[in-house]
């Protein structure tokens, strides 16, 4: 008891002389560590936010109207031309290794119906809000950008194909061999889109390069992106002769694509899987 009293007196005298006790030192150290950790977390948070919080990031969305669609496959061809998808040629076609970012699927081939009825329909990447491919990618080569586009970083992809296995829509393609153009002439390729090497997975980007160009122009002009100017922005939408494909900002309630999404005709593929696709279909009476 006497010793405890002496200890207390010693601590009191240290305090009165301005000396730091061991407990205070520990407390100060812990506080400093907490402050540093909190600061770095905030800095990282700030880094990940958009540069101007007042500017709302759009959430790109695509509507495909099956009552307008002619199944002419113009969208498939336009997509391949725009995105430097090399022609498969007879060998790759015969061995079932062609690359299609957008493909017209025929449900009758397997004698079964789907949400879209018995008719064939063009199917691109669904750009899901909860993408399975992103979950399984071991190196973060596949991620969902702030604007809702599920992006594939070619250079980081290691070619494990886990994303292809995980995607319930089967909308990812793999470069089984190096891309080659007829006659070895790649002069017609689009300079805005990278040519993917052998051994990586690739997929629809909703023509991200076109979106970037439009949004950058709007930013320089200090004007908002006008909905009517981007309705046919992706190559598939631009090529569609019956204007069956509509593109726009799904987060803007006034955009055409948002209005279509709210209509009773909107149908989502494999909705029960709760992947929340941002590409949807329209079918039924207009």
């Amino acid at each position: 008891m006497g010793d405890a009293g002496e200890d207390r007196e010693a601590r009191m005298s240290k305090r009165s002389t301005g000396q730091t006790t061991r407990r205070e030192a520990l407390f100060l150290g812990a506080s400093a560590a907490f402050a540093v950790a909190k600061g770095s977390a905030r800095a990282a948070e700030a880094k990940s936010e958009s540069p101007d919080p007042k500017v709302k990031t759009p959430q790109w969305s695509l509507a495909i109207d099956l009552d307008r669609c002619l199944r002419c496959q113009a969208c498939v061809v336009a997509c391949a031309a725009e995105n430097n998808i090399a022609p498969a040629g007879p060998q790759l076609s015969q061995t079932m290794r062609p690359i299609h970012w957008m493909e017209v699927l025929d449900p009758q081939a397997r004698g079964r119906l789907w949400e879209l009825g018995p008719w064939p329909a063009p199917v691109p990447c669904m750009h899901c809000e909860r993408p399975e491919c992103v979950k399984v990618c071991p190196v973060g080569a596949c991620h969902r950008a702030d604007d809702g586009i599920v992006v594939q970083v070619w250079d980081r992809c290691i070619g494990c194909r886990a994303c292809m296995v995980a995607c319930p829509y089967g909308r990812r393609s793999y470069n089984w061999t190096a891309p080659a153009w007829p006659g070895g002439d790649a002069s017609a390729v689009n300079p805005d889109v990278a040519i993917r090497p052998v051994g990586v997975v690739e997929k629809c980007t909703l023509c991200q390069h076109r979106i970037r160009a439009v949004t950058e122009r709007a930013r320089l002009d200090e004007e908002p992106v006008q909905d009517e100017k981007i309705l046919r922005l992706p190559a598939c939408a631009a090529a569609c002769p019956s204007r069956a494909i509509t593109f726009g900002d799904g987060s803007d309630p006034e955009s055409a694509v948002s209005k279509l999404a709210r209509s009773a005709r909107a149908v989502y593929l494999l909705a029960h899987l709760e992947t929340h696709p941002r590409v949807f279909y329209l079918r039924g009476k207009r």
């Binding site: 990282a44 790759l92 190196v139 969902r144 089967g170 393609s173 090497p197 997975v201």
Partner: protein, 484 residues
């Protein structure tokens, strides 16, 4: 083994390895177009023989190593002999798993670099990448050397080409009662650490094999159980095969004996019975599912992959019958066990094959054309090369640490109180935990956006270093010099 047979075996193994290397060079040169793999939806399977073999190797290796850890808990001499055989077999399996998965990568060098820099714990492949490297390969190797140090100390006294290395690995071991006590304690804790650490990669692999976005939870759970149980059966079967081979090469010196075989046979029968039940239950749940797509897929599997399915079921059933008969009238002969084990290995391969490939060709949710998958000679050659490389690497290891035990009288032990050793070991564990936690947190993108790079470059490697530190705790505890 006679010199002539040994030279012939080595020549065959080298030829198989060379063929595998040639096939792999062709695959790298032309892309995976030379394999039988196709795009899912375009009528094929993107994961084929390589991933099936990865599942077989890793599942079997985990089961074998787990059996070795369990055998170390027992003080049965026969089980100790089984553990001695199991450890190098497991290491060979892990090596095979690592090589198989590398053979499947489109860009293998980018895979090594990018996994080291950016691997994400959210992906099941993170566990297989980190755990196979740190726990399975390194931990098992360390466990194997530590367990055999007394034998190595004895072998190092005999003149041989391996004497220098044997001396190095047995350095400091004098067989004092204190050292014997520490060895047993370190072995016990190492086994205890390894058991759950081995379950993680096996489970992650099972998830990769069975989880489909379009499947119900009940079917997935049953299929996961079937995958793990068949892997367990495959591991025990491999142990029987390895023990028979070792007994043939080293004679009765290996020490497995009739009792060891009988125990392995009972384990195998138990594992086969469980595997059969799980496979049948999973298939019934699939065919009888209320979800029409899942039910259709279950039926398609029975039709399209019926031969594989019935081969797997039939082989397991016959193996169980052979084992039952052999164990009821046990005469100490390993022959029937060996036959049953080989049947089990074939059945497990067939099971893993239709489990992985079947749903890719016939289980898609959207109305794609049904696919086909037939491995090409390139894939077979690469797999053959991998098996040959594993055996070739195993041969010098077996020469370095022979299976026959030399150290005797392990019972005399003396508990020695050593505070300095306990404190240093505790600090090392703590340090290992901190390093692995930092590596894991940074890999999980804590403090940054999920789509961005980790805050610390190479954080998956930091996580692996932490795991390696934890695995080396037993070595530190055992090898720290005594104070005189």
């Amino acid at each position: 083994m006679k010199a002539g047979k040994l030279v012939l075996t080595l020549a065959l193994l080298l030829a198989a390895a060379a063929l595998g290397a040639y096939a792999y060079v062709l695959q790298i040169q032309h892309g995976e177009v030379v394999t039988g793999l196709r795009s899912v939806g375009a009528g094929g399977a993107v994961w084929g023989l390589y991933v099936v073999m990865d599942g077989c190797f890793l599942g079997t290796g985990v089961a074998v190593m787990a059996a070795a850890c369990l055998a170390r808990f027992s003080r049965d001499r026969a089980m100790e002999a089984v553990a001695r055989i199991a450890m190098p077999s497991a290491i060979a399996c892990f090596l095979g798993a690592a090589l198989s998965v590398m053979a499947d990568q489109g860009r293998p060098l980018a895979a090594l670099a990018n996994l080291s820099l950016y691997a994400r714990p959210q992906s099941p492949m993170f566990v297989t990448f980190t755990a196979v490297g740190a726990i399975c390969l390194f931990g098992s190797l360390l466990h194997c050397v530590l367990a055999r140090r007394p034998d190595l100390a004895e072998y190092a006294k005999r003149p041989s080409a391996w004497q220098g290395l044997q001396r190095l690995f047995a350095a400091g071991y004098r067989g004092t009662p204190g050292q014997r006590y520490r060895r047993r304690k370190a072995g016990f804790w190492m086994s205890l650490f390894m058991l759950p650490a081995l379950v993680a990669p096996a489970t992650a692999l099972a998830i990769l094999f069975v989880v489909r976005p379009s499947r119900g939870v009940d079917g997935v759970l049953l299929e996961t159980a079937a995958f793990l149980l068949t892997s367990f059966a495959s591991g025990i079967a491999l142990l029987v095969v390895a023990a028979t081979l070792v007994e043939k090469l080293a004679g009765r010196d290996a020490g497995v004996g009739g009792r060891g075989y009988a125990r392995l046979g009972r384990w195998l029968l138990f594992a086969v019975a469980l595997s059969l039940s799980a496979i049948v239950a999973a298939e019934i749940a699939s065919v009888g599912s209320r979800d029409a797509a899942v039910s259709a897929y279950g039926r398609a599997l029975l039709v399209e992959y019926g031969d594989m399915f019935w081969v797997a079921i039939g082989s397991l059933f016959v193996a169980a019958a052979v084992l039952w008969r052999a164990l009821r009238r046990w005469r100490g002969r390993a022959g029937p066990l060996l036959v049953a084990s080989l049947m089990v290995e074939g059945a497990v391969f067939a099971h893993h094959y239709w489990l992985l490939v079947g749903w890719q060709t016939h289980g898609l949710a959207l109305p794609y054309e049904p696919g086909v998958y037939s491995p090409t000679w390139i894939e077979f050659a690469v797999v053959l090369g991998i098996v040959a490389v594993c055996i070739l690497l195993l041969l010098p290891a077996v020469r370095l640490i022979p299976f026959a035990p030399l150290a005797v009288d392990l019972r005399r032990m003396k508990k020695v109180r050593d505070v300095r050793r306990a404190v240093l070991t505790s600090v090392w564990i703590l340090l290992g935990l901190v390093v692995s936690a930092i590596g894991l947190a940074s890999s999980a993108r804590v403090g940054t956006h999920p789509a961005m790079d980790p805050l610390i470059a190479g954080s998956p490697v930091i996580f692996i270093v932490g795991l390696v530190m934890l695995a080396t705790t037993a070595a530190l505890y055992e090898l720290l010099p005594e104070r005189d």
